[in-house]
């Protein structure tokens, strides 16, 4: 592989560049990605600010307002939606044929899929920083140095959610079926997590739901980001997110193996 290193670097750069280019050319996609969390932050969080009291929980050192609590969850939500958008884009690329161009490059399939995943993560990080900047400018109290320390957490959570999206894209055979993914994956993952409410609060109302939320890898992505935003490392969240990433990626590479007949939809000629 060392002799081929320039070919690997060239392919990785090419795939990430293409994803970034496509994202920049789809301004509506950027707006949609921003509007969703901002509505949650400025409408939903504003309403709950007075109603919901939050005790001091790590990583916070003092009482916080609800908008401060919800901000890391919304960053993770951006990455969750971006992972699913990337998945949708892979189904689209497969239907439009451009996925074949990627999969017939003379490099290992796992590397090509990882490159595609990296492109999606790059885009999700751009969106996350844009959201954090807007939130900061509109008065959400976030530590400035947290913008730096959160970066590795954004990479790992983006990879995990992107790999989940990639796995889903291998199972969704038609674009029309993608609405089901929204209903059965995105919403349950988001609402059954610590993005909107702390786990102890959920436990007060339902122990069963608390356990579901505790097992949800998205909860741990949220907590990884939350701790990293305050310069702290959440070891449990890191291990669960990293392990989930490995499982989702391996399953996606397996699902995209040529022996699984991925391209049979192209028909027989």
């Amino acid at each position: 592989m060392s002799q081929q290193a320039p070919a690997y670097v060239s392919a990785l750069r090419g795939v990430v560049w293409r994803e970034a280019l496509r994202f920049l050319q789809q301004r509506e996609r950027f707006l949609a990605a921003m509007v969703r969390p901002l509505v949650w932050l400025f409408l939903f969080a504003a309403g709950f600010r007075a109603a919901l009291g939050l005790s001091i929980i790590p990583p916070y050192q003092t009482y916080i307002t609800y908008d401060m609590y919800i901000a890391p969850g919304l960053v993770a939500m951006i990455q969750l939606f971006n992972g699913m958008q990337s998945s949708l884009s892979m189904v689209y690329d497969r239907e439009m044929g451009s996925m074949r161009v990627l999969l017939t490059a003379p490099l290992p399939r796992w590397f090509l899929l990882l490159s595609r995943l990296s492109g999606g993560v790059f885009v999700s990080i751009l969106q996350a920083y844009a959201f954090l900047a807007i939130a900061y400018l509109f008065g959400v109290d976030l530590p400035l140095w947290g913008m730096v320390t959160v970066f590795p957490a954004l990479v790992l959570s983006g990879l995990m959610l992107g790999a989940l999206g990639m796995l889903l894209s291998s199972t969704v055979k038609q674009l029309e079926n993608f609405a089901g993914v929204m209903n059965f994956v995105i919403f349950p993952m988001f609402f059954a997590s610590s993005a909107l409410f702390p786990l102890w609060k959920i436990k007060e109302s339902s122990v069963a739901l608390y356990h579901i939320c505790s097992w949800n890898p998205f909860t741990h992505a949220v907590e990884l980001i939350r701790f990293a935003l305050y310069g702290e490392f959440n070891g449990q969240a890191f291990v669960i997110v990293a392990a989930s990433f490995a499982v989702f990626l391996l399953a996606a590479v397996w699902a995209y193996d040529p022996s699984k007949g991925l391209q049979t939809r192209g028909g027989r000629g």
């Binding site: 392919a11 161009v101 192209g266």
Partner: protein, 263 residues
């Protein structure tokens, strides 16, 4: 005698005839979709500098064969060698000397012609000045230099196909395979692309495998492989096939072989 069961007269006749190493060698390849046999013991060679027409009616197995050659499907039985490299042994690395034009359009409509080519070049390890030179060279060859900055979405079908052929040649492959590349094109565009790829085979010494069900895309000096219901029913130079079948031309030979097999 049923033509469907008929074996071609000479095994791997092309390479034996010339003694040249094959650009692409397919040997004993079979493939099934569940219980349905799509390809049955298919063997043939594509020689450098030769245009080989892979002929067959719709459903003959051409696209399945392309999916196997490009590793979009895994081989069940048989061997495929690209420029001497066994696909099963070398995996994706064996695809390096292969240029591919799929039946389905595969360009990114929202990117420009140049951006599409740059993306593909990067997948094949080309970067910097080498990539720029390759893009200019192939766009010039396909007479598309003036459209390099335009989004693919605004191009007509013939021009999109030209871009796809230019893209397939960027990394200087030794084999070019095209799966029904003229589907949906008007007559002048079709004729221009057929002539261009014939010229490419001769000028660059490329081994070309051109899948089609349109017999008029084949020229008298070409080789053909005639696939019907997943089996090869004839192969060799056009003149030899016409002579063997007793037909007056390749069109009549094609009709006879595929009609008889269907009966």
């Amino acid at each position: 005698m049923s033509d469907r069961g008929r074996k071609p007269k000479n095994s791997n006749a092309n390479s034996m005839r010339s003694g040249q190493a094959s650009a692409l060698s397919v040997s004993g390849v079979s493939f099934s979709y569940g219980a349905v046999r799509a390809l049955d013991d298919v063997s043939f060679d594509v020689l450098p500098g030769r245009f080989t027409g892979l002929l067959g009616p719709n459903g003959a197995g051409k696209t399945t064969l392309f999916a196997l050659i490009t590793r979009l499907l895994s081989q069940e039985r048989g061997e495929i060698e690209i420029a001497g490299r066994d696909l099963a042994r070398f995996g994706s690395a064996a695809l390096a000397p292969l240029g591919i034009v799929f039946q389905q359009p595969t360009l990114d409509l929202d990117l420009t012609v140049r951006q599409n080519l740059a993306y593909f070049a990067s997948l094949h390890g080309l970067s910097g000045a080498a990539r720029t030179r390759a893009i200019e060279r192939e766009l010039d060859r396909m007479e598309m230099s003036g459209r390099a900055g335009e989004r693919v979405r605004v191009l007509n079908g013939g021009h999109r196909r030209r871009v796809e052929i230019a893209r397939a040649l960027l990394h200087d492959p030794s084999v070019l395979i095209l799966d029904e590349p003229t589907v949906g094109l008007d007559v002048p565009s079709r004729a221009a692309i057929v002539a261009h790829v014939h010229a490419l085979a001769q000028e660059r010494g490329l081994g070309v495998l051109w899948a089609t069900h349109l017999i008029d895309e084949i020229e008298a000096g070409d080789d053909i492989v005639l696939l019907h219901r997943g089996r090869i029913v004839e192969r060799g130079p056009v003149a030899d096939v016409v002579k063997r079948t007793g037909a007056k031309d390749i069109s009549e030979a094609f009709d006879g072989l595929t009609r008889a097999g269907a009966a």
